[in-house]
Symmetry: C4
Subunit: 200 residues, 4 copies
Amino acid sequence: MDGTGTGRLEAFSDGVFAIAATLLILEVGVDTSRGDLGGQLTHIWPAYLAYATTFLIIGIIWINHHHCVSLIGRVDRPFLFVNLLLLLTVSFMPFPTKLVAQYLQKPDERQAVIAYAVTMVTMACIYNVWWRYARHHRRLIAEHVSDGSLEAVDRAFNPGVPLYALVLAVAFVSPLGSVIMTLFIAVFYLPSAALFERGT
Amino acid sequence: MDGTGTGRLEAFSDGVFAIAATLLILEVGVDTSRGDLGGQLTHIWPAYLAYATTFLIIGIIWINHHHCVSLIGRVDRPFLFVNLLLLLTVSFMPFPTKLVAQYLQKPDERQAVIAYAVTMVTMACIYNVWWRYARHHRRLIAEHVSDGSLEAVDRAFNPGVPLYALVLAVAFVSPLGSVIMTLFIAVFYLPSAALFERGT
Amino acid sequence: MDGTGTGRLEAFSDGVFAIAATLLILEVGVDTSRGDLGGQLTHIWPAYLAYATTFLIIGIIWINHHHCVSLIGRVDRPFLFVNLLLLLTVSFMPFPTKLVAQYLQKPDERQAVIAYAVTMVTMACIYNVWWRYARHHRRLIAEHVSDGSLEAVDRAFNPGVPLYALVLAVAFVSPLGSVIMTLFIAVFYLPSAALFERGT
Amino acid sequence: MDGTGTGRLEAFSDGVFAIAATLLILEVGVDTSRGDLGGQLTHIWPAYLAYATTFLIIGIIWINHHHCVSLIGRVDRPFLFVNLLLLLTVSFMPFPTKLVAQYLQKPDERQAVIAYAVTMVTMACIYNVWWRYARHHRRLIAEHVSDGSLEAVDRAFNPGVPLYALVLAVAFVSPLGSVIMTLFIAVFYLPSAALFERGT
């Protein structure tokens, strides 16, 4: 029964991750009444940047989620609720992503990127609560999982909140810099993460 | 074969739940021609409220659905049809949610929130029929399931229709109050529900 | 390996069915600049009719697909390709559904409903090819499946094309009648279908 | 654990493929303010062509992905990352598809089709890296898989990049020809592909 529990948790979570990531492209478009398509396709590069950054972020959240759930042996009600809050935040991401696509390099870019970074900080906080709730005194951890595996995940989660807090701070000074930093976190996080050092 | 039956029932249902929840964000946006992004991001709080409320409602429907299906050993044609009606109603939710986001705190807010509450009452009624059909004389219940488990689910389903009927009544007096009440139902329902007291 | 084959076939097909059904609601909306929300919510009943009709049609395609695949033991390349054409047609449905929602009871309603009915006829034809390809000389049928089970499915598939052809014919005379007839097919098809009389 | 690994890889990938394919139809629509629906439905044939072409391309990527993953016994971090890049590209496809639908047979059609073809070339390159990474020295290949099966997949992947490069070259001369060529690749690729000659 517990196995079924994590099975459906995964199914719904995977669904939300996949849909949130794929919906991002719906917001990318050109103004068909303006002409000069070639110029417009270059000019909307903030939309490409925002799309790729959020897509990779969601992909990495998915990969981490996948790994953590593989360490979890059972779920309880509070955990399902925190998981729902995590999905709510991920599912919200297309909105600030659209703001970045629409406003980057324009007068209100700072507010747009701050909204984006606040979403990322919120996600990182909820994701940490999610993991720490399951991991605390091995509350939901499967028996066969070694302490080393858990510590590897801890090491992967620890930099999340500080890094995104830095992204938020940078947003006040350089909106473009903040978005590029988020992209770098996504690109470099996966290969360097200790996340997959499975209980070696 | 029956196991396969509930397997695909879950797959399609999970898909609809995840998509309906994730589509909600598509309706949230700002007017890019207006400027003052910071002000607009604050001003559209009814959109955030409507988004979070419906997302949590769908999430809780999903968690309950997941638990109930785990008690069900086989499906038949009428049950699949009622399940389809339930999904039709859940899949409809992004529309009244958009209405609440667009109209709350504006002249026509009452009609918008009534449409929202009517959708919730309809969902609660269909969901009750769905459960009672499966549970009546243990029609579709798996053999290993104890009566105590079924009674726990009954206790969780019983307050649904009256609560949403109250939400609908409040909508006539205070549209905002009605939406906030719906959010509270979602937030407090899960932790307090007897739903997961599995046959103790 | 073959089981994996139908497993992923189901996963992708379920995904397309669930998404196509859930996207339908995105096209339902009101004109926020017009006021009189209560009147508008009544006035857009063709959108509700089109939404419910297509949702149920897709749901029934899904249930039938689910049952047929449970009889299938292996897949081959032509079958995957026909399945892809079936999904292409189902995934197309939100477009003619939107046309019905936009044009019913308006000057161009006939063209809109003809487009809708042509889509349904096309779907029914491809679905028949899909089933007949798998069933012919038990090409892809699992060994344990009785001939009686296959004949029950045949009886369920036989009326599909003629019924939708009639729906198309009616569209020329009475567009509204044609849509209502499609809804009736959906509502009455499932309970009366011989589809689930599993090899009795 | 490894099996779980490819299981969730498939779930997320299937989700993205199914959603990207199904979202395509959202961009197809008519101008309700113009009248002459019958004429418009004929006039927007580029939208149908773009829809069908991309839907089939994504479907074939899915079928190939499905087959390749069935040969893979375990996943590692770089592979997950390349898979994410592949999904990012597939998920991007609705945007250039919309451009083709909007601009084909209009002044800026060349730029639109070039954007479409560049996306296809990029996808083909990443897909080749994806396969070659897994296949090199049988890095991620399951033990039971014969070298013959791998060579069959190689033969299926080899023409991908050159074919799409040709599509891109044709886009400069004949945009419409380029899109039709892409459709032909999709329609003829599957039945002729050596992909499913499983280790004969």
